[in-house]
């Protein structure tokens, strides 16, 4: 299990669990609450119509069922507009959503020792292959069961307890446990490249069982070498104070570019 193998959680640590309402986040929240207790669930509401409202309702039901403290923080409250408005103003869907979500998650997880996410074996395999195929292998240094290259002030480290669990295993578990999950995708998840990589990986896994796990085990062997690639100067955003590789963080750049007409 990833938690034991990589010492992802130490005794007494305060853990926030990033939850979207999907099968992965419900599963990781359930398991961490059962194993450690005292976790807090945090959702970021991008305001995606006919999707996010429903998954947040699933999450509320789940947290009530298992008596888990639950926080929801919205794009509209933080940035003055929902994701749809950013997209209407030309922001790239998945990239801007990811930047803004991670920014809010880090902000609201201050005071916690770690943020656990539901990222799984399939996610990691796709990310590794996509970085390799795009020629951005240095970005892969940010992957792995524990994110980040080095500790930085204000950055709450992210961990992936489901690192070795496949999407199929997690879906099976969520189904058998009767979690209130909708098996649907974000309407903006139109990354053709990721879909192509996912489909090819599933084809290979079907033909040669264990392909995904072997890919990740081999990636983990080279990850220490990738982490020696200089990350650049670490600083605080001059606008919001969040950890940033540049003078202004990506979240503030996104808001500046797409939040004002």
């Amino acid at each position: 299990m990833a938690i034991d193998r990589f010492s992802l959680i130490r005794q007494g640590e305060k853990i926030a669990v990033a939850v979207s309402g999907g099968k992965d986040s419900q599963t990781v929240l359930y398991l961490l609450n059962k194993l450690y207790g005292g976790v807090t669930a945090i959702s970021i509401d991008e305001g995606i119509p006919s999707y996010r409202d429903a998954t947040l309702e699933d999450m509320k039901e789940f947290c009530a069922r298992y008596s888990i403290p639950y926080q929801i923080h919205s794009f509209e409250h933080a940035f003055g507009q929902k994701l749809e408005t950013f997209l209407q103003r030309g922001a790239p869907a998945c990239r801007s959503c990811g930047v803004l979500r991670r920014h809010l998650l880090n902000k609201h997880a201050q005071g916690f020792d770690k943020i656990a996410t539901g990222h799984n074996l399939d996610d990691e395999c796709q990310n590794v292959l996509m970085n390799l195929l795009k020629g951005t292998l240095s970005l892969a240094s940010k992957l792995g069961p524990m994110s980040g290259v080095m500790k930085r002030e204000g950055f709450v480290q992210r961990i992936k307890p489901l690192y070795f669990c496949s999407e199929k295993e997690i879906t099976t578990y969520a189904f058998l446990m009767g979690f209130p999950v909708r098996f649907n995708e974000c309407p903006h998840a139109t990354d053709g490249f990721r879909s192509a990589v996912r489909d090819r990986l599933n084809d290979l896994e079907f033909r040669q069982s264990g392909t995904k796990l072997r890919l990740i085990e081999n990636f983990l062997m080279i990850l220490p070498a990738l982490k020696t690639i200089p990350e650049g100067m670490l600083r605080s955003c001059t606008n919001c104070g969040s950890p940033s590789a540049n003078a202004v963080c990506n979240a503030c750049k996104t808001v500046e570019a797409f939040a004002h007409a």
Binding site: K168, F183, E185, D203, F206
Partner: protein, 64 residues
């Protein structure tokens, strides 16, 4: 057999007798990408299904 494919919100009615993995092959669906249930009971790939069954095919790809 009535089949509901959740990812595409598609309902089909076909005549089929065989295993789950054979049904998925006939529908050109990769077993790695789905789980299959009958009357909300999970089925293994080797399980035999009959033409009178009500089958749900759920995508393991979800979220965004």
């Amino acid at each position: 057999m009535h089949i509901f494919i959740e990812r595409t919100n598609e309902k089909k009615q076909i005549h089929f007798n065989g295993t789950v993995v054979q049904l998925l092959a006939a529908l050109k669906i990769n077993p790695e990408a789905v789980i299959v249930s009958r009357n909300h009971e999970l089925l293994t790939e080797a399980e035999h299904i009959q033409t009178t069954d009500e089958i749900q095919i759920l995508s393991v790809v979800s979220g965004g």
